[in-house]
């Protein structure tokens, strides 16, 4: 489904943010990407829909090379859902219009059909009663659930999550993770950048640990949590799992 081969990326030609990335995500897999801040994990998933360009290597989504100049990147983006840390809902549109905008404009869906589909999705994330609200009137957790519904409305083949719970108050993290877990159960291919180790342990098929732009671990969650291979991943785990962050 997603394949990186020998991918390198630099910022301003000197800061090497992704170093020789090789990885594969298979259909139906849930892959959690973690690592200390500044490790390049957000950059990594943003290269998949080319919100960030790469300087070297190849990235493939479903047998199409996304970083080939001849590829129409919009076609890829239609099939790759993306959920942002700060939700990025459109504040001037109602919840329903946020969800139907892209299906109507990009997929040329009839407004009535798009609306119906959006309502189904809102039901799925438990927010059907908020369809006419504006984003500013929703809590962070609700906004993020709408953002997930907005991504799903394009019927993507894969969903990417860029720290979806990092901007949320603690009491709202659960509701968003629950939606994501349900999505994983439904068989969606997912790549999730997160610090939520509980989610990684329970939902992920694989955990990738990134540090300084390098993949240090790419393994099953049990192995990652019980027998991390690198000193740096051990250190990271000690920090995120320690109850007092001591």
């Amino acid at each position: 489904m997603i394949r990186f081969s020998n991918v390198d990326k630099w910022y301003d030609r000197e800061h090497h943010v992704l170093k020789n990335i090789n990885l594969k995500v298979n259909v139906g897999e849930v892959v959690v990407v973690c690592g200390p801040s500044g490790s390049g994990k957000s950059t990594l998933i943003r290269t998949i829909n080319q919100l960030e360009p790469v300087e070297r290597g190849e990235i493939w989504v479903d047998e199409v090379q996304v970083n080939n100049p001849r590829t129409n990147i919009n076609r890829i983006r239609e099939e790759v859902g993306f959920v942002f840390q700060h939700f990025n809902l459109y504040p001037h549109l109602s919840v329903l219009d946020n969800i139907t905008l892209a299906p109507i404009k990009v997929k040329k869906l009839a407004p009535a059909v798009a609306r119906e589909r959006a309502l189904e999705l809102l039901n799925r994330v438990g927010l059907a009663h908020k369809r006419d609200a504006y984003p500013a009137n929703l809590s962070g957790g609700q906004q993020q659930r709408v953002a997930i519904a907005r991504g799903l409305a394009m019927q993507p083949k894969v969903m990417l999550f860029d720290e979806p719970t990092s901007a949320l108050d603690p009491e709202m993290i659960g509701e968003v993770l629950q939606v994501m877990q349900d999505l994983a159960k439904s068989g969606m291919t997912m790549m999730v950048v997160t610090h939520e180790m509980g989610f990684a342990r329970e939902v992920a098929d694989r955990v990738i640990f990134l540090d300084h732009g390098e993949i240090l671990e790419d393994t099953q969650p049990e192995w990652f949590f019980t027998r991390p291979q690198h000193e740096r991943s051990r250190q990271f785990l000690r920090q995120v799992l320690a109850p007092m962050h001591g």
Binding site: N74, E78, F82, Y90, R150
Partner: protein, 248 residues
């Protein structure tokens, strides 16, 4: 100052048919409004296009718009008007030049010159407002739109511009009012708009103070009215949280 105000002057006959002086002011106001609204349409359309150009990733479009803005912002309005009225027609193909100078009614050719002049002048200022509005939006807005597969024109039309315009309604309102005030330069090329009619009344009646007082009141009421209209528009299109988001 010992002056005998005589407000009845506006109801005296001008000596032309059954016309009274107040009719001149009404006709002048008509020209002022027609002129300003036409110029504003040009300014808003062109200014939006230029403002968008200044935020596009491509360097050429951004630079072209910048050159436009600097050119039209840094030359006095009156100089621009004289160029449009006295010089530009000479550069036109001969047929159009003759048509413009001879066939058209003098009021019409003056009207066209001022409308174009004021429209293009104000477009430079609208451009800067639109650019500021777009740049005030969080980068996540365009990223989210692109991530969903929206094409560049759709991103601007559906996501960026509707928000940018809501943010810039207050400065845009003052540009709108400026058009009405600036339209008075038209009196210098003989278009009988409000200021020209005022001057003419003053000359005909020698009631200089009354004439300019009335003109002042008309301009003031007109602009206050427009401002109130724009306030209503602003309230009507307000959405919760948008202004607060602007700074993020």
């Amino acid at each position: 100052m010992n002056y005998n105000w005589d407000w009845s002057v506006f109801f005296k006959s001008t000596g032309i048919g059954s016309e009274i002086y107040l009719d001149w002011f009404i006709a002048g106001l008509g020209w002022t409004i027609a002129l300003s609204l036409s110029a504003w349409v040009i300014a808003l359309l062109l200014g939006t296009v230029l403002g968008v150009m200044r935020t596009l990733p491509g360097r050429f479009a951004a630079r072209a718009a910048t050159v436009y803005v600097e050119l039209f912002r840094n030359v006095p309005l009156l100089v621009q008007l004289f160029i449009w009225y006295f010089i530009v027609p000479d550069w036109l193909p001969e047929k159009i030049e003759l048509w413009f100078k001879q066939d058209l009614h003098p009021a019409t050719s003056a009207f066209i010159s001022v409308t174009v002049c004021l429209g293009l002048f104000t477009a430079a200022r609208v451009c800067e407002q639109v650019r500021t509005g777009i740049q005030a939006l969080p980068r996540g807005q365009s990223m989210a739109a692109y991530a969903l597969g929206l094409r560049l024109p759709q991103v601007y039309r559906k996501v960026l511009l509707p928000q940018a315009f809501r943010i810039i309604i207050p400065p845009l309102t003052s540009e709108f009012l400026n058009v009405f005030k600036n339209s008075s330069v038209a009196s210098l090329i003989g278009l009988m708009e409000l200021l020209a009619q005022t001057k003419q009344t003053a000359e005909f009646t020698a009631n200089l103070f009354e004439a300019f007082t009335l003109a002042t009141v008309i301009y003031f009421v007109l602009n206050m009215g427009l401002m109130l209209v724009m306030r209503t528009v602003e309230k009507r299109v307000r959405v919760p949280g948008l202004i607060a988001l602007g700074g993020k």
